[in-house]
Structure formats: structure tokens, C-alpha cells
């Protein structure tokens, strides 16, 4: 915005519109600001790289191994503690599990399921919670208070019991886990989104749009949704590790995925049972992927929150 730039605009009627556009000063949008802040956040950027590697590992990991998740090596079985250790030479990178199966492939497969449950569960929660919360917040009044009272009631029911009950009653399957976890996790989301919508709805720029006659759906799309997006993105990122934790919890108890499929929780549970017998690698490998992933999601979520919702704005 130097004086030199400002000069041509002293005679606006003669200046051509296209010409004006060229000389405009570019503004910094909130998104651009956020991107700059996020990239400046070292912990978050390292987490992004690590997480990308883990995702690639879970998708393509199987292709560099000659084994699969269910074939049992009968030679090893019964002597896993001595003969089943990790080895690069025989291609069993992570060694064997207690049943003589290749642990590397099982970790790859478990990572895939845990990550999928995390992401899909969070997605279900975000979609349901956002729609529910935004509806309650935007409509307001009696509808809002009934909808939120219902959420209050659901929230004070211990969801883990319901989830376990559901898994026992409806039978254990991956779909059921997706649905069950997603459906119990949307409550928080809906509260947050509702609060945001409520405050956005009363902001004067929305009122200005109403006063201009902008139709309701366009207000929602143009003004409400973009301003909600930041919160939703941050919360969704923090929801993924929560979903992974929930799934791991259930699988740890043996109520989650079923053999031969596995997940981090199930692998951790098996590793815990055998650590007394010197088969620590069975705990160490899944634990490593589990901890690193959760760490990464938390740092990314924190980084996004700092970037998108800085207090000093």
C-alpha cells in the first residue's frame, strides 16, 4: 500500500477495471494466516511427516513382505520365544506372534484397521455431530432446547457400556465397531458446533446478510459453514486418536475385531500377555506404532488449533 501504488486510483473513472486488479494489494486471508502459522509449528510438521509414513506403511506395507497374516509357521509354534524373534534375514521383520504368524504383516493389517476405525469413526461423528449441532444452533428456540436436552441425557449414559452391549447383542463385526464408535462420539461434536453456530448466527455480519435478503441456505453456505470449518477441522483431528483409543480399548478386552483380523488394541493385548515370557517385541512393535500415531494426531490437532483459532486475533 505504498503511495506509488495508490496513485493511479486518483482518477478512478478513467482507469480500466482489469488494470486496477493488477495493482491490488493482496490481503492475507485467515486461511493463509493459519497455513503460515501451521507450517511454522515444528512439532506439527514433524507429526505430519511421521503420520504420512505410518499411513503409507499401513497401505503398502504388505507388498514388501512375502508372508501374510494368517499362515501359521508350525516349525516356530511352541518355540516362539527363541526362534520367533525379529530378523531381517528371514523376512520376518517384526518376528512372529504367539501363534507362529508373521507379526510384521499383522502389524500392517492392524494399523490399517485402527487407522480406518479412527478416521471413519471420526468422520461419522463429525458428519452427524455437525449436522445435528448446526441444525439445533441455527433453528434455536424450542427445537434447540429439546435437541440439546437429548444430547445431555445421552451424554450422562456411560457410552462404553452401550457400545459393549451393542457389540455383544448385534454380533462383533468391523461395521458394528465403526457405527457404534461413531454414533457414541458425535455428542461432543454436536455441542461444540451448536455453540459456534449460535454465536455466529448472532454475529452482525450474518444479520447484515439477512438484511440484504440473502436466502437462508446461501447464508449457511457462504457465512456459517466457512466460519465453522476451523473448529470442525480441529475437533475432527483430535477425534481420530480418541476413536483409535476407543477401538483399541474394546479390542484389548477381546470384544473388538475378530481373528484372523487384528488391530492395535488386540496386538497390544496379545503382547501384554506374552511379555512375561521374554517376547517383548510382540508388545514393542504395536506399541511403537500406536504411541507415535496418537502423538502425531495430538500435535497436529494442537497445531491446527493454534493456527486456526489464535487467541490474539
Amino acid at each position: 500500500m505504498t503511495d506509488k501504488l495508490a496513485q493511479p486510483f486518483q482518477q478512478p473513472k478513467t482507469a480500466d477495471a482489469a488494470e486496477r486488479m493488477v495493482e491490488n494489494v493482496q490481503g492475507r486471508s485467515l486461511w493463509a494466516d493459519a497455513r503460515r502459522r501451521f507450517i511454522g509449528n515444528k512439532a506439527a510438521m514433524v507429526s505430519v511427516v511421521l503420520l504420512t509414513l505410518i499411513v503409507l506403511f499401513s497401505i503398502f506395507g504388505q507388498s514388501i513382505s512375502e508372508y501374510d497374516i494368517e499362515t501359521i509357521d508350525w516349525d516356530i509354534l511352541g518355540n516362539v520365544a527363541n526362534a520367533g524373534q525379529p530378523s531381517l534375514s528371514n523376512g520376518h521383520f517384526f518376528g512372529f506372534d504367539e501363534n507362529g504368524r508373521d507379526l510384521y504383516n499383522r502389524v500392517v493389517q492392524g494399523s490399517r484397521i485402527s487407522l480406518a476405525v479412527g478416521v471413519i469413526g471420526a468422520l461419522v461423528a463429525v458428519v452427524v455431530g455437525t449436522i445435528y449441532g448446526a441444525t439445533a444452533g441455527y433453528l434455536g428456540g424450542r427445537v434447540d432446547s429439546i435437541m440439546m436436552r437429548l444430547v445431555d441425557i445421552f451424554m450422562s449414559i456411560p457410552y462404553m457400556f452401550v457400545l459393549i452391549l451393542l457389540l455383544v447383542v448385534a454380533g462383533r463385526s468391523i461395521t458394528m465397531i465403526f457405527v457404534g464408535i461413531g454414533l457414541t462420539a458425535w455428542l461432543d461434536m454436536s455441542r461444540i458446533v451448536r455453540g459456534q453456530t449460535l454465536s455466529l448466527k448472532n454475529r452482525e455480519f450474518v444479520e447484515a446478510a439477512v438484511a440484504t435478503g440473502v436466502p437462508t441456505w446461501r447464508i449457511i453456505l457462504r457465512h456459517i459453514v466457512p466460519n465453522l470449518l476451523g473448529v470442525v477441522v480441529v475437533y475432527a483431528t483430535l477425534l481420530v486418536p480418541q476413536m483409535i483409543l476407543t477401538e483399541s480399548f474394546i479390542s484389548f478386552l477381546g470384544l473388538g475385531v475378530q481373528e484372523p483380523f487384528t488391530s492395535w488394541g488386540a496386538l497390544l493385548s496379545e503382547g501384554t500377555k506374552t511379555m512375561n515370557y521374554g517376547m517383548l517385541w510382540q508388545l514393542a512393535f504395536p506399541l511403537f506404532f500406536f504411541v507415535v500415531t496418537i502423538f502425531c494426531f495430538f500435535f497436529i490437532g494442537d497445531g491446527l488449533r493454534d493456527a486456526l483459532d489464535p487467541k490474539d486475533r
Binding site: R149, D152, I153, S156, I157, P158, Y159, M160, F161, V162, I164, L165, L166, L167, V168, V169, G171, L245, S248, F249, F252, L253, G254, L255, G265, L268, S269, G271, T272, M275, N276, L280, L283, L287, F290, V291, I294, F295, F298
Partner: protein, 307 residues
């Protein structure tokens, strides 16, 4: 205040009813009855058994009898799996264990977490603050089912200081690791909440007024800042309680403490619906009750709510 309490109770009752109906309905829709095991029983035998447990009655009658049994005699009915034990027996056996380490864990989480959060906020940017922040970040990735095996690995297998499991009538050596495993992540969350809310309160206008009055820092923190900064922590107590109740499943599974979680998970494997439902309703009502207490506590701290 009394009005508030009564109104809060009025909200708790429908919640309980929903919980009751939902779990009862889930039981009813379960594929096959509890007695359709691998070996199909003769029709006559099945009918006899169902008559004994009242399963031949209409659903609403079953539900009614069940509720009346709980309310009048605290009777959760018989177990479907173990002919000689009632759900009450199971509660009597497991509940004291869970209660013992649960209460200790809860207190540890609140006291240690609260103290850590407050001191970190007061000494912002000191080594204590960095330590607290480090602990809270670390503890986020150490849920109880990760914490517990690590504890056993270190203190039982490597150092040999503590027994790796069992309850043994609640000897202190058997309580330490379950309490640490169960409380750490909640302790960390409480510390984090406490720190950030205390920092925020210390920046508020009424603290500026208190400083302008010449009050010593100690008085400012304990008399003016503590109560309002407790609000987010208090509202976290409800979720923390739920988390600890479910976390006790893991504790019982890993440490073999024999608490209520052990029976619940076993019942889930055995499709022993009567036990599952009884325990769900017991723990569920405790949660609902606890949430109510928390809300009342909240109102006690914040005079604006008390209307």
C-alpha cells in the same frame, strides 16, 4: 439452590428410564435367547427354564418386575449362566474391589492433577510448568491399557518391587499399580485444564481489582482465583468418572484384581445378559447420580447458575 437441585433430579430420572429401557430393549432383540447355546435344548426344557426366569411373560411385565425387584429389594435377578449365583452375588464380590481402587484413583487424579495444574499456572514458564506440560502431553498417549503393561514390565518383571496382579484382600502393594494405571491420564487432563483455566482467571478483570486492593498473591489465588478456575475441572469430573469406570475393565483384565469389570467382560463373552444388564444399570445409575452431584457442585461454585 434447593430448586436447582430438585430440577436437576427431575432431569436425572428420565435419563435413568432411558438407560433402563434401552438396555432392556437391546437384550430383547438379541439374536436367540440366552439359552440357545451350541447344543439346542429340548423344547420342553427350554420352556421350563424360560418359565423359571420369567421369560415367558410379556416384555412389559418382565421390565416391570425387573424394576420393582431392583427398587424394592435391590435385586438384580439371577445370572443366566451360573445357576447358583445371582447378579447380587457378583456385585457383592466385585464391587468393593472396584470401589476401593476406583475411589483412590479418582482422588489421586483430582489432588495430584489439581495441585500440578495450579502450581504450573502460578509459576508459569518455570521448570515446574514445563514439567507439568510435559507430563500432560506424555500422559495423553498412555491410556490405561498401555500404562498397565508398562508398569508391570518395569516394576514387576524388571525391578521385582511389586506383585504383577491379584488383589489379596486389598493389600497396598496390590493397589499401587492399578491406581497409577487408572489415574495417570485423568490426572494429566485435570492438570492441563486446571493450568489453563487458572491462567485465564489470573488475567481477568476482577483479579486486577484484587491486585489494586493490595491483596497478597496468596489471598488472590486461594480466595479470588481458585473457585472460578475450578469450573472447567468440575465439568470434566463427569467424563472422568465414566472413563474410570470403563477403565476398571482393563485394570481387572490386566492385573486380575477381580473387580466388577472382570465379571462384565466375562458376561459379555458368555452372553450372560442378566449380568450385563444388571451391571450396566448399576454403574449407569451411579454415573447419572455422579453427574448430578457434579452439576450441583458447579452451581455451588458459580452463583450465577443457582437460579
Amino acid at each position: 439452590m434447593l430448586n436447582f437441585i430438585i430440577r436437576r433430579i427431575a432431569v436425572a430420572i428420565p435419563t435413568l428410564i432411558i438407560l433402563l429401557i434401552a438396555s432392556f430393549w437391546l437384550m430383547q432383540t438379541a439374536p436367540g435367547g440366552p439359552f440357545t447355546s451350541e447344543r439346542p435344548l429340548p423344547a420342553q426344557v427350554l420352556a421350563n427354564i424360560e418359565a423359571k426366569y420369567g421369560l415367558d411373560q410379556p416384555v412389559y411385565k418382565q421390565l416391570w418386575d425387573y424394576v420393582v425387584g431392583i427398587l424394592t429389594q435391590f435385586d438384580f435377578g439371577p445370572s443366566y449362566k451360573y445357576k447358583d449365583r445371582s447378579v447380587n452375588d457378583i456385585i457383592a464380590q466385585g464391587f468393593p474391589v472396584t470401589l476401593t481402587y476406583g475411589v483412590i484413583s479418582f482422588l489421586v487424579a483430582i489432588i495430584v492433577g489439581g495441585a500440578l495444574g495450579i502450581s504450573a499456572a502460578i509459576r508459569q514458564n518455570s521448570w515446574l510448568d514445563y514439567f507439568a506440560v510435559g507430563v500432560t502431553i506424555g500422559a495423553q498417549v498412555l491410556p490405561n491399557f498401555v500404562m498397565a503393561p508398562i508398569l508391570i514390565l518395569v516394576f514387576t518383571l524388571w525391578l521385582g518391587w511389586l506383585p504383577g496382579g491379584g488383589w489379596n484382600g486389598g493389600q497396598w502393594q496390590h493397589i499401587i499399580m492399578p491406581v497409577i494405571a487408572l489415574s495417570t491420564s485423568y490426572m494429566a487432563s485435570i492438570a492441563r485444564l486446571m493450568r489453563s483455566s487458572m491462567l485465564e482467571v489470573l488475567r481477568s478483570n476482577f483479579i486486577r481489582t484484587a491486585r489494586a486492593k493490595g491483596l497478597p498473591e496468596r489471598t488472590i489465588i486461594w480466595r479470588h482465583a481458585l473457585k472460578p478456575s475450578l469450573l472447567p475441572v468440575v465439568s470434566y469430573l463427569g467424563p472422568a468418572f465414566v472413563g474410570m469406570v470403563t477403565g476398571s475393565f482393563i485394570i481387572d483384565a490386566i492385573f486380575g484384581t477381580g473387580g466388577i469389570g472382570y465379571f462384565y467382560v466375562n458376561a459379555a463373552f458368555n452372553r450372560d445378559y442378566a449380568v450385563m444388564m444388571g451391571l450396566t444399570i448399576l454403574l449407569g445409575s451411579m454415573t447419572i447420580l455422579f453427574n448430578m452431584v457434579v452439576d450441583i457442585l458447579y452451581a455451588w461454585i458459580d452463583p450465577k447458575i443457582r437460579l
